[in-house]
Symmetry: C2
Subunit: 246 residues, 2 copies
């Protein structure tokens, strides 16, 4: 009988075309993991992530599940995978899971962190993980705007739709904005996020912080259900999937 496993992953997304395998592109996190597990198990193994991360997006706590035809102790599986992974991807935890555990279907919520580097001094050590914006943003205005984005509502204006038939209603539980040295950090927690949703929220909040959009306009942008009403798409490099809740 197959043994199901659950693992927690960290990766620097800079060099990858995102989480999800695409045709024959080997340059995705999922494809790298599946190639290693296929070698270990001798059969095709499907690795299911809690969700996709886009090209260039990082993860501190991505969760994925998979099953092996030929079960091995979890510490052996973890050591095997880490031995063959490139140094910008690592399994930081791996355990046996119930047969029904599915990393995407069982996920109850996620926290994403977005980092904006403020000021004119380049950030040598954080440059791969932040969006450099020299202009000082108005954090109070951003907080007022963010309050309108919290709650269960239709985020159609805040996503780059791929399939217009699916529901774009999501519940955002909290948005926290705070300074960390020269950085401005934005933490988003919610049940799930649409394609580009966090990055469009960040881009729109940055526009608010620069006084190009007023906090009071957010409700109207949501009601319009029109992507063009929201602000810019913040770059992928500033985004990190921090945690998946089950």
């Amino acid at each position: 009988m197959k043994q199901n496993y659950r693992m927690t992953l960290q990766y620097e997304g800079t060099k990858y075309n995102g989480w999800q395998k695409q045709g024959n592109t080997p340059n995705t996190i999922q494809a790298k993991l599946e190639a290693i597990l296929q070698k270990l198990d001798g059969t095709e193994v499907e690795v299911r992530g809690s969700g996709r991360t886009d090209a260039g997006v990082h993860a501190m706590g991505q969760v994925a599940s998979f099953a092996l035809e030929h079960p091995l102790p979890s510490d052996v599986v973890m050591a095997y995978i880490n031995q063959y992974l490139p140094r910008d991807i690592a399994v930081v935890a791996l355990e046996e899971a119930e047969p029904r555990f599915h990393a995407r279907l069982n996920a109850k919520g996620k926290t994403y962190r977005y980092r904006i580097h403020q000021g004119t001094i380049p950030d040598v050590f954080g440059r791969r993980y932040s969006w450099p914006l020299a202009e000082q943003l108005d954090v109070e205005a951003m907080g007022a705007a963010a309050a309108h984005l919290v709650g269960k509502q239709d985020f159609q204006s805040f996503c780059d739709l791929k399939n217009s038939k699916k529901s774009t209603v999501r519940r955002v539980d909290s948005i926290e904005i705070y300074r960390d040295g020269s950085d401005l950090v934005l933490d988003f927690t919610g049940e799930g996020f649409l394609y580009h949703m966090v990055r469009i929220m960040v881009g729109t909040l940055a526009d608010v912080g620069a006084h190009r959009i007023l906090p009071g306009q957010i409700s109207g942008i949501l009601a319009a259900k029109d992507r063009k009403q929201a602000g810019q798409l913040a770059p992928a490099c500033g985004l990190m999937l921090m945690k998946v809740m089950y």
Copy 2:
């Protein structure tokens, strides 16, 4: 009249052949800075670092001095340099300095930090800045050994000599060893360090931590004045020049 300047630099040394320009190799920090300042000033500008850092070594607070024939305000000079530097080097402070200020000759001390990543879980985000050593090191033994390295003494055994005529006596003021999550951090402060000296001290302390060398052997290793008596050379990537004291 020439105007003298003092600047503080950060860099990730991964891709560079160290601080010091070597013949026509443009791939050093010093050569990058001199090329930019020559363009600004219209004449050859010599940039003097507080000291060399080896290939692959990083800096959080390297200090350098230079003089311009055609003086400009320090904020203008800083913005100009940062505009042309690659993203893995940055000027984080720049100010006018007394005509006699010389970053190397006036340096009174330096602090270097060395980071060892412990355990079998690879460190995705810190991998460029640490030495991965799975084996758990005995920190108490390392502290006992480090105590023998503090003080003014002949460090000939702890350097890879280039010129055997120069004195190898140096004063080490302190060595602090502490845990930071999964990392073991070693902070070295002293008046100055010989070629490879910090990395040989780290390699030797790691050998002590792995019980291949006993703390009581350090005095004998120092007295031998023989590089072969000391331990391994720790890799460059774990080393960071933190601070230069004037």
